[in-house]
Amino acid sequence: MTPEETLQRVRQILEEEFELEPERLAPEAGLYEELGLDSLDSVDLVVALEKAFGFKVVRAHDEERIRAIRTVQDVCDFAAEKREAAGPAA
């Protein structure tokens, strides 16, 4: 999956899960202050990413990493990273 494809998929998730308008979903857009997501949304976002990218988050291991996600681009980086770690079979 190319970085462009990842971005496209992440945008699609944000649009569908959180009813956000596509034009607001620039890579640098802030999830919380700018797009209005909150902690409950971040839980649903992770589940949606798991399904879309075929990886599994381990709470104890990934908690810090997830908390550091602030922008749309951060989501893409996290998804790519987890997908890579899960290996090509995932």
Partner: protein, 413 residues
């Protein structure tokens, strides 16, 4: 003691969202009951009763902001639409100081049944919960309607989930009445809501309380007080009220639609599935005492009358013993609306106050041949009856042997 008045009402009925839809639906004389398609009852092919009264017209859920909506199951969403209409009529802005100081009492039989089913389907399949939406629990919890409404409208006072099965809506109104009358609060959002789900219909089916002989004639059932009644039909909806102390309402020049004068609640110790005439009579008398009113001052009774054989007979007997044969006009609205369960006490109170203001009574639909066991009462049937009345009763009874009666009055300063 404070006088307690109604300054706003809202409805979501099987006819569709809004008080106007309820009023027009009842005026049309149409039944909101229909045959459920096999697919709609797919999880329960063995149901004897195939009828239900789901909403004919859906409200636009997108009107509820997403972050409020995500924690609402269907029942809390229906509650939201009824509450929004009531608050608008009362002239109360979400987030205002007047609402911040208010309380909320809102009831339903359970939390959202479809959400509970969703959670347990995933649990039963693989004991998995981690893929459930984060806010799923907030749709399931038994005070889901009350808590979601408090959040959505910025109500910061006490929050009560009034859960008493089919009497939940009336209980919520009663709790609101008591809190305002005693002076512990001056404003409350009250009501009841229910969503239709096959499992709800099944619970009536199991104890043979659901109608099953009219599966091919949906508009003929339920049949309150009729000799050929064979059980009730589950519906859904919501009814909401803004209740205020008279002084609070006058202080902000709010429109006053009616007065709640009395309330009583008791429990029949003999049976969980229905109340006997004795405890119903005691509850009716208790409500009149609470309003300091005499039986002959009552101009109309909106009966609970679900169309079950046992329940209607007990209610008729209690009303006959209280009023004799020259009592008030009596009708029940479940022939039109189906039984909207936890919503019914509130939703039918909305209709009752609307009739009191409009000076008419809607009849009991499907009451073609009154059961001899229910005779000796002035049962309103046929078409709408022009009728001006000053004071009326609203009955609401429930599984658990729970009885609730409200005394409502035309408001006079």
């Amino acid at each position: 003691m404070n006088r307690v008045v109604v300054t706003g009402m809202g409805a979501v009925s099987p006819y569709g969202p809004g008080l106007a839809a309820l009023r027009e639906g009842l005026a049309s004389g149409r039944s909101a009951v229909r045959v459920m398609a096999p697919g709609e009852l797919k999880t329960l092919p063995g149901l004897a009763g195939r009828l239900a009264a789901p909403l004919a017209v859906e409200p636009d859920a997108r009107r509820i902001p997403r972050q409020q909506r995500r924690s609402m199951g269907r029942l809390a969403q229906l509650a939201w639409f009824a509450a929004a209409e009531a608050l608008e009529q009362a002239g109360l802005e979400p987030g205002s100081e007047a609402l911040r100081e208010a309380g909320v009492a809102f009831g339903s039989t359970l939390g959202s049944t479809s959400s509970t089913a969703q959670a347990f389907e995933s649990y039963a399949q693989g004991r998995l919960f981690e893929e459930s939406p984060a806010a799923l629990f907030f749709r399931i919890m038994s005070h889901s309607a009350a808590a979601n409404l408090a959040q959505a409208f910025g109500i910061a006072g006490p929050c009560q989930g009034a859960s008493a099965a089919c009497a939940s809506g009336a209980l919520a109104l009663g709790l609101g009445f008591q809190a305002l009358r005693s002076g512990s609060l001056e404003r409350m959002l009250c009501g009841g809501a229910e969503e239709f789900h096959p499992l709800v219909a099944a619970s009536f089916d199991l104890i043979q309380a659901s109608s099953h002989r009219y599966n091919d004639r949906p508009d003929q059932s339920p049949r309150p007080f009729d000799a050929d009644r064979d059980g009730t039909v589950a519906g859904e909806g919501a009814g909401a009220f803004v209740l205020e102390t008279e002084s609070a309402a006058l202080g902000r020049k709010a429109p006053i639609l009616a007065e709640i004068e009395g309330f009583a609640s008791n429990t029949d110790g003999a049976a969980l599935s229905h109340s006997g005439a004795e405890s119903l009579l005691e509850c009716l008398r208790g409500a009149l005492d609470s309003a300091r009113a005499l039986p002959d001052s009552i101009g109309y009774v909106n009966a609970h009358a679900t169309g079950t054989v046992v329940g209607d007979e007990a209610e008729a007997q209690a009303l006959r013993r209280l009023f004799g044969t020259q009592g008030p006009l009596i009708s029940g609205l479940k022939g039109q609306l189906g039984h909207t369960l936890g919503a019914s006490g509130a939703l039918e109170t909305v209709a009752t106050i609307d009739m009191m203001r409009g000076e008419y009574v809607e009849p009991t639909r499907n009451l073609d041949r009154p059961d001899p066991a229910c005779e000796g009462l002035r049962l309103a049937r046929g078409g709408r009856i022009e009728h001006r009345f000053e004071r009326c009763l609203k009955n609401s009874f429930a599984f658990g042997g729970i009885n609730n009666v409200l005394v409502l009055k035309r408001y006079r300063a």
